[in-house]
């Protein structure tokens, strides 16, 4: 998947790390110290519709449909997360118990065009 850079406005993954100290939550979240709140941003012109950041059979299928039906820009394709991973958190609850849990689908790993 593309990581966002200055010289492209195509669909890509923008990385952003939130440190729990910066938001004053490090007193109740024991581990980790922070996490990546990445997000997807950028254009999805028709010629890349359906591509999760690299050529794939789904993209070819969508592209052929666009050509065969001569679809103008009626519908549009969006830049969305295509792969996420869990975040393991250790924190104090309000009774000062320590709770450990894995939060599924918490971190965006890859972006692509729907």
């Amino acid at each position: 998947s593309l990581r966002c850079s200055q010289n492209s406005n195509l669909c890509c993954r923008k990385d952003y790390y939130v440190d729990f100290r910066d938001i004053g939550w490090n007193d109740w979240i024991i581990k980790p110290e922070g996490y990546q709140i990445n997000y997807c941003v950028g254009q999805c012109p028709l010629h890349v519709a359906g591509s999760p950041g690299m050529a794939s059979s789904f993209h070819t299928a969508v592209f052929n449909l666009v050509k065969a039906n001569n679809i103008q820009a009626s519908g549009h394709s969006c830049c969305v997360p295509t792969r996420r991973r869990p975040l393991s958190v250790l924190y104090f609850d309000r009774n000062s118990n320590i709770v450990k849990t894995d939060i599924p689908d918490m971190i965006v790993d890859a972006c692509g065009c729907s």
């Binding site: 939130v18 609850d93 118990n97 709770v99 450990k100 849990t101």
Partner: protein, 218 residues
């Protein structure tokens, strides 16, 4: 947020604030918390470090399962002020009503203080005290009873299953345990060292079925 034109770096500040607020909202929502917890009392770092080592030693790893979420919880005991035997422990739990909690295992960690010159066996009994429902003989139910060879003081673990399973299904948030230790000659030989450095704690592993996840019964 619209970046203020006169201050190009403000855009970065606005984006940063936006993402930090988004991170807070996402964490609270995924942890099913209405607001960030305000700790009832601080837990000594040494107790936290020891307890986290137990969690790692347990090594219970589970893949993220959307149907059922895995939790491990460590609850530190508070002295039970009304305990007749003077060896009462109290644990506080909260879970949201619509969560379907299944306890997979629950272990009590106690630091038993045994007089050095004593070489004998002792029996340690753990009762679920107080509350309604399944009680035997007065208002308590035997959870665990074990004969221990009293080889000096140290940490001991006691499984509290399957009796504790029903506790977590109930509404109760306060778990009260009564401990009794009897030596072979009938005298009380072991005490629980509940000072901060040896605070007793309970390690429980649970699966929680999130509301709305109705498995179609076939």
């Amino acid at each position: 947020a619209a970046a203020e034109p006169r201050c190009p770096s403000c855009g970065a500040g606005a984006e940063r604030r936006l993402l930090e607020e988004a991170a807070k909202r996402q964490l609270l929502e995924k942890l099913r918390l209405r607001e960030r917890p305000r700790l009832a009392h601080a837990v000594p770092r040494a107790a936290v470090a020891r307890a986290v080592r137990r969690l790692q030693a347990a090594g219970a790893r589970r893949g993220p399962d959307a149907e059922e979420r895995g939790y491990e919880i460590i609850s530190f005991a508070e002295p039970e002020p009304t305990s007749p035997s003077g060896m009462g422990l109290q644990f506080q739990f909260t879970h949201t009503q619509d969560q379907d909690v299944h306890i997979l295992q629950a272990q009590l960690w106690l630091y038993l203080q045994v007089p050095r010159d004593l070489v004998a066996n002792l029996t340690l009994s753990i009762f679920l005290a107080g509350g309604d429902g399944d009680t035997v003989g007065g208002n308590r139910m035997l959870l665990s009873e074990r004969r221990l060879s009293a080889k000096g003081s140290g940490w001991r673990t006691f499984s509290l299953m399957p009796a504790l399973r029903s506790f977590f299904r109930g509404e109760r948030r306060t778990l009260r345990l009564e401990l009794e230790s009897r030596g072979d000659r009938g005298d009380v030989v072991a005490t629980v060292n509940a000072t901060h450095s040896h605070q007793p704690f309970l390690v429980a592993e649970a699966k929680v079925r999130e509301p709305g996840h109705r498995v179609a019964k076939r």
